[in-house]
Symmetry: C2
Subunit: 355 residues, 2 copies
């Protein structure tokens, strides 16, 4: 099938990090006017970004957050505190600049790309809305697969196409974001399927369900896994059986960014579920990922541990949309600027350590 071949081509295009650039960045850090290592994770991150971007002094100019929206049939199980129509309403809010991601992206100097991956409504045309809709919402994962295998492949390739288009406009770093009422439930199902941990360890309160809602979410995830039996080693199978269109789109966006040596700042619970799919499809994508933050959503830490990613921020966020990624982009940019702009001991005429 052509679509399978296209995915394989995308995966095959992901290069390893550039070790020479990383060594050059690490060497330069030691010459800058500060005790070596005293900027901690900023220093490590600068070396990491040098390896991703294959240059000893990486610079971040164009920052892009893709916020992908989709709806979820599993809302029929009573898993969300909000009605499904909110997904479409929030898409309009994104397009009008009033949502949290708009505020935080403006603050970070990033542009937001709003993508309809599978909203369960015919959205009004808008010049800034990218239409990559695969279908009007997924099926109910508690009763059968979310989508067909072909739709899952299409979602991933559509997401990759979004990033390919943005690269032409300028993209030095990608942040991932999501919108979709009910989408913590498929994300938890993905996490349970891939990490092997029990749903009760992973499912959290999402937008804020009460105890009865939480019990319904756990039961829905358990049923989704029992009914669908996703193969944890086949990312497309997991996505098709218990995923979502925006999650598949984000997995594709991640793969495309890595294929072009662009760092990916992964937002919270839903984005990290997309990262689990991406890494299952292509383990070589993992070094391109930067975990923006540790979400308040229960299972996020389990997912970050499986990925081996230490989060940059820990601010009790649980909103999604890319809000944590926007905040973390400022840190990533700071890391690059320290490496690029600081004076060396020799340039500044500062004495180095006593020997």
């Amino acid at each position: 099938m052509q679509i399978e071949k296209d995915l394989q081509s995308l995966i095959d295009a992901i290069p390893p990090l550039d070790v020479t650039a990383m060594e050059a960045a690490a060497s330069r850090q030691k010459t800058l006017t500060k005790p070596p290592g005293s900027l901690g994770r900023l220093e490590q991150l600068s070396v990491h970004l040098a390896g991703i971007m294959a240059t000893p002094r990486p610079q971040i100019r164009h920052k892009v957050i893709v916020t992908m929206a989709g709806d979820h049939g599993v809302v029929a199980e009573g898993v969300s505190a909000y009605p499904q129509e909110v997904t479409a309403q929030m898409v309009y809010n994104f397009l009008h600049g009033g949502a949290a991601i708009n505020v935080l992206a403006r603050h970070a100097g990033a542009r937001v790309v709003v993508v309809d991956m599978g909203v369960a409504a015919d959205l009004d045309l808008h010049p800034d809305l990218v239409d990559k809709k695969v279908a009007k919402g997924t099926e109910n994962i508690a009763r059968g697969p979310a989508m067909t295998r072909e739709q899952a492949l299409q979602a991933v390739l559509n997401g990759a196409a979004v990033v390919e288009a943005e690269l032409e406009k300028g993209l030095d770093i990608l942040g991932t974001g999501d919108m979709g009422i009910g989408n913590t439930t498929p994300s938890a199902a993905i996490a349970a399927a891939i990490t092997g941990r029990a749903p009760a360890e992973i499912v959290g309160r999402g937008t804020g369900v009460d105890d009865a809602g939480l019990a319904r979410k756990i039961a829905a995830v358990q049923r989704a896994l029992a009914v669908n039996r996703p193969d944890p080693h086949d990312g497309i199978d997991v996505l098709a059986k218990v995923g979502g269109f925006e999650i598949g789109g984000l997995a594709g966006a991640i793969l495309a960014a890595a294929a072009h040596r662009k760092p990916v700042v992964v937002d919270g619970f839903i984005s990290t579920a997309a990262a689990l799919i991406a890494v299952t499809l292509a383990p070589q994508v993992r070094p391109y990922l930067i975990a923006a933050h540790r979400s308040q959503e229960k299972g996020h830490q389990i997912m970050l541990q499986w990925l081996g990613l230490p989060p940059l921020l820990d601010l009790d966020l649980r909103l999604g949309e890319g809000t944590g990624a926007a905040l973390a982009m400022h840190i990533a940019e700071a890391a690059c600027k320290v490496l690029d702009e600081m004076a060396t001991f020799a340039e500044a005429g500062v004495s180095d350590r006593n020997t």
Copy 2:
């Protein structure tokens, strides 16, 4: 003594937080297009800043980091990995824009105010260098008091005067920063004196001393406390006996900012020692403090716990200069922008929670 009266006037000018503004901010947060509480510490911080700045929708335009420099007689005990001349050299580096604080302040959109509080050299005149020198470095605290009581008072008032002058140029939020070879040693002594914890629990490696250097630092702090017997309830006594000029200046800067309802983003180990002095002098200053980050320096967590301040960031920083404060200012500004700029459910036509 007039100088004692001036300090008391400064302390008496610090108002309580504005509870009405905090309630208005908290109410507005609940109307914004996101699940309530989903922006975690950003939401809490926005309410906190409303109370500090006495307005329901605080805005941060002018960001200022004061980086105060001083030298320390205790370097004679072999407590630093760098020679004392580095303090003056780094002041020139700050003035030329090549240090980490310059890079990170530019990134945050903050201006850096470089202050000579007590560098052990005659510094070249420079239009951007604020001369508030109390003396050319402190005495060796391992052998006697760092400074006289009058010098300690003068350091605090000089620091306050720096902030008073910056307020006229525009200052909505203050970040604290320090430079001073050897200054983790007096900071640890201040922390041990005020928190009552043992020097070995607090003293860390500073700029990176080896095991022998660490042992010398612990011994120096133990001797400083034994020789000087600072009164933990008298902030000026602690500052005079085991402190430093830049630490006193920062304590004064903190008090002055609070007296004018400006939030203070406290940087790392040395700035937090200054905050301990400020809070000991005026407990009502505590609500004006925002802990920028958890430093890698050993005793910082103990100091933050004594102050009751949860840090915003945890990036293994241990540089000082105000670098952590610059990064955290971006978060504080983000908090204000979310509160001020996000659309409400009504404005955006988004359905609120299921009831």
